[in-house]
C-alpha cells in the first residue's frame, strides 16, 4: 500500500514537474525529438539498404550444366546428390531441360530460330541445367566446387569473381550503415542524457531537501526516473508520427521501389511500427537512465 502510494505520488509529481519546469522540459523534449528523427531516418535508410542488398544476393543462382549425353536416370542421380549438399535451398533447385531452353532461345530471336529449329535432342549442343539457389552466399564458391565434382556435371557457373566482389561491397555497405546507426544512437543517448542532466541540475536544491528530510535514495530517484521516462515518451511522439506517415507516403510515392525495380523498399506494414517501437524504447530508456545518472551525482557524499 505504502509502495503504491509512493509510486502514484511519483508519477503524479513527475508530470507536475515536467510542466512546472516547462522551459527546460521543452529543451529536453526538443532535443529528444530532433535526435530521434535523425535516428529514425538513418534506421530506415540502413534497413532498406540491408534489405535490398540481401534481395540481390538471394537472386544469385548457380547454374550446373550437365553433360550432353546424360540419361534421365543419371539426371535424377545428379539432382539427388545436389540436394544433399549443405548450402542449398532444397526447394529452389530447378531443372531446365535443354529442349525448353532451345524453345526459349528460338522465341527470343529469329536468328536462333533459323539455326536451332532442326536440332534434335541428340544433336543439340545445348546442355540440360540445374539452377540452384544457395542459403549463404559467402560459401557459394565452395558449394559450386562441390556441385562441379558431382558425376555428370560438366560445367558450373555462378558469375564467379563478380559475385564475390558484390558480396564484399554489400558487406562493407551494410557494416557502414549499421555503424552509422549505432553511433547515431550513441550520440543521441549522450545528447539526451546531457540535456536531462541540465534539467535536473537546476533542481539540485530539491534533491538536497529530499535528502535532508529523510527520503531514501530510491524515493529520490523514482520521481526523476519517471520524469525522464515522461520526457522520453513525449519526445518520441513526433518522430514516431513522422516515421509512420512519412515512410508510408514515401513508399506509396515511389510505388515500393526506388529509381529501379532492383531497389525494392521494405513494405511499411510492420516495418514502421518496429522502427517506432525502437524509437520509443530509445526515448524511454535513455530518458530514464539519463535522469538516474544525473541524480546519482547528488546522492553521493
Amino acid at each position: 500500500m505504502k509502495t503504491l502510494r509512493i509510486l502514484s505520488r511519483n508519477i503524479r509529481d513527475s508530470f507536475k514537474s515536467v510542466f512546472r519546469n516547462f522551459s527546460l522540459s521543452l529543451a529536453s523534449i526538443s532535443c529528444i525529438t530532433i535526435t530521434l528523427i535523425v535516428v529514425s531516418v538513418s534506421m530506415i535508410l540502413s534497413l532498406n539498404v540491408n534489405n535490398f542488398t540481401s534481395l540481390i544476393e538471394k537472386d544469385v543462382t548457380i547454374v550446373a550444366f550437365l553433360k550432353t549425353d546424360i540419361t534421365e536416370e543419371e539426371t535424377d542421380k545428379v539432382y539427388d546428390e545436389i540436394i544433399t549438399l549443405d548450402n542449398i535451398e532444397k526447394d529452389n533447385v530447378e531443372f531446365r531441360d535443354k529442349m525448353d531452353i532451345s524453345k526459349e532461345m528460338m522465341a527470343s530471336s529469329e536468328t536462333f530460330k533459323s539455326i536451332m529449329k532442326d536440332w534434335t535432342r541428340e544433336e543439340s549442343p545445348i546442355q540440360d541445367t540445374f539452377q540452384i539457389k544457395v542459403t549463404d552466399i559467402n560459401l557459394i564458391h565452395k558449394t559450386a566446387e562441390e556441385i562441379k565434382n558431382i558425376k555428370n556435371v560438366d560445367v558450373v557457373k555462378y558469375g564467379e569473381g563478380m559475385v564475390e566482389e558484390l558480396v564484399k561491397v554489400f558487406d562493407v555497405i551494410r557494416k557502414v550503415s549499421i555503424a552509422i546507426v549505432i553511433s547515431l544512437i550513441l550520440v543521441t543517448a549522450f545528447l539526451i542524457a546531457n540535456t536531462i542532466k541540465i534539467t535536473i541540475m537546476s533542481r539540485k536544491r530539491e534533491i538536497e531537501i529530499m535528502r535532508l528530510v529523510g527520503a531514501s535514495n530510491i524515493n529520490i530517484r523514482l520521481p526523476f526516473m519517471f520524469e525522464g521516462l515522461t520526457l522520453g515518451i513525449i519526445g518520441s511522439i513526433i518522430p514516431i508520427i513522422i516515421t509512420i506517415y512519412g515512410y508510408n507516403a514515401l513508399y506509396n510515392h515511389f510505388d515500393g521501389q526506388l529509381f529501379t525495380q532492383f531497389i525494392k523498399l521494405i513494405k511499411p506494414d510492420s516495418f514502421v511500427y518496429l522502427v517506432s517501437l525502437i524509437l520509443l524504447a530509445i526515448g524511454m530508456i535513455v530518458g530514464m537512465f539519463g535522469s538516474i545518472r544525473a541524480v546519482r551525482k547528488y546522492l553521493k557524499i
Binding site: K2, T3, R5, I6, R9, R20, R205, E206, E208, I209, M210, R211, L212, V213, G214, A215, S216, N217, N219, I220, L299, K300, I301
Partner: protein, 228 residues
C-alpha cells in the same frame, strides 16, 4: 542518557585542511546546546558530521544510537529521519506553499494524506503560521520562512533538531521570536544543537555553550555559565 556521542573525532578534508581535531562531545537527551566560535573554527563541519553531510576521518560519532561514520550512503536516510535540520538560508522549495513545503517531508516517506494533513497543521500552528499555510515562500518574511523550515524539520517528530545559524539572516527581534519557537520545541523533549554567531541570543537563553577554536573545544559552559 546521551543522545549524541562524539569520541576522538577528527575531520580532514580532501584538500588536506583539518577542520576538527580529536573532539569529544556528549549531549544528553532533551538538552539545548549552542556551538559558538569564530568563522572557520569548525562549527559547521561539526554539525554537518552529525547529519552525515560529512564523514568523520577518524573517531566515532553516535547519533541516536546510529554510528554515523559507518552508515552507508544508501542508508543515510535512516539517520536523517531521526533528526531535523534548519539552515540559515531556509532551503525551501520556492514553487511550493508553506503547507506543501512541510507536507513534502512526510510525503517522501509515503504517509497517506489523511495523516499528513493533521500533522502539518499541528506544526504550522506550533510555529505560528497556521494562517499562512497557503502562502508561497517569496510572500513570507525571513522570519516566517525560517518558521516554515523549522516546521518542516520537526514535522516528523525527530529526536534531535540541528540548527545551522538559523537566525543569521534575521533582525534581533525576529531572531528572538525564532528562539522562542526553538525553546518551545525543546520543551517538548527535542534535543537542539544550534550553531550561531549571535552572542546576544546565547547570553540571553542561558543554555549549555560549547566554544570551538581551530577545530578544538576550548570551553564547555554549563547552563547559565556563559558570559560575553
Amino acid at each position: 542518557m546521551d543522545i549524541i556521542r562524539m569520541k576522538n573525532v577528527k575531520k580532514t578534508y580532501k584538500t588536506g585542511t583539518t577542520a576538527i581535531y580529536d573532539l569529544d562531545l556528549n549531549i544528553k537527551k532533551g538538552e539545548f546546546v549552542f556551538v559558538i566560535g569564530s568563522t572557520g573554527c569548525g562549527k559547521s563541519t561539526l554539525i554537518k558530521m552529525l547529519y552525515r553531510e560529512e564523514k568523520p576521518t577518524s573517531g566515532k560519532i553516535l547519533v541516536g544510537g546510529i554510528d554515523v561514520g559507518k552508515i552507508r550512503n544508501g542508508k543515510v536516510y535512516k539517520l536523517r529521519r531521526k533528526i531535523g535540520v534548519v539552515f540559515q538560508n531556509y532551503q525551501l522549495l520556492q514553487n511550493s506553499t508553506a503547507y506543501e513545503n512541510v507536507a513534502f517531508a512526510l510525503e517522501v516517506l509515503g504517509l497517506p494524506k489523511s495523516e499528513v494533513h493533521p500533522k502539518v497543521m499541528k506544526v504550522l500552528d506550533l510555529v505560528g503560521l497556521k494562517n499562512k499555510a497557503k502562502q508561497y515562500p517569496n510572500h513570507l518574511s525571513g522570519g516566517e520562512q525560517q518558521r516554515v523550515a523549522i516546521a518542516r524539520a520537526i514535522v516528523n517528530g525527530p529526536k534531535i533538531l540541528i540548527c545551522d545559524e538559523p537566525t543569521g539572516n534575521l533582525d534581533p527581534k525576529t531572531s528572538m521570536e525564532i528562539m522562542e519557537v526553538l525553546e518551545a520545541i525543546n520543551k517538548l523533549g527535542t534535543t537542539i544543537i544550534m550553531v550561531t554567531h549571535d552572542i546576544e541570543i546565547v547570553e540571553k537563553l542561558k543554555k549549555r555553550v560549547v566554544l570551538l577554536d581551530s577545530g578544538r573545544i576550548v570551553k564547555d559552559y554549563k547552563e547559565g555559565e556563559y558570559k560575553k
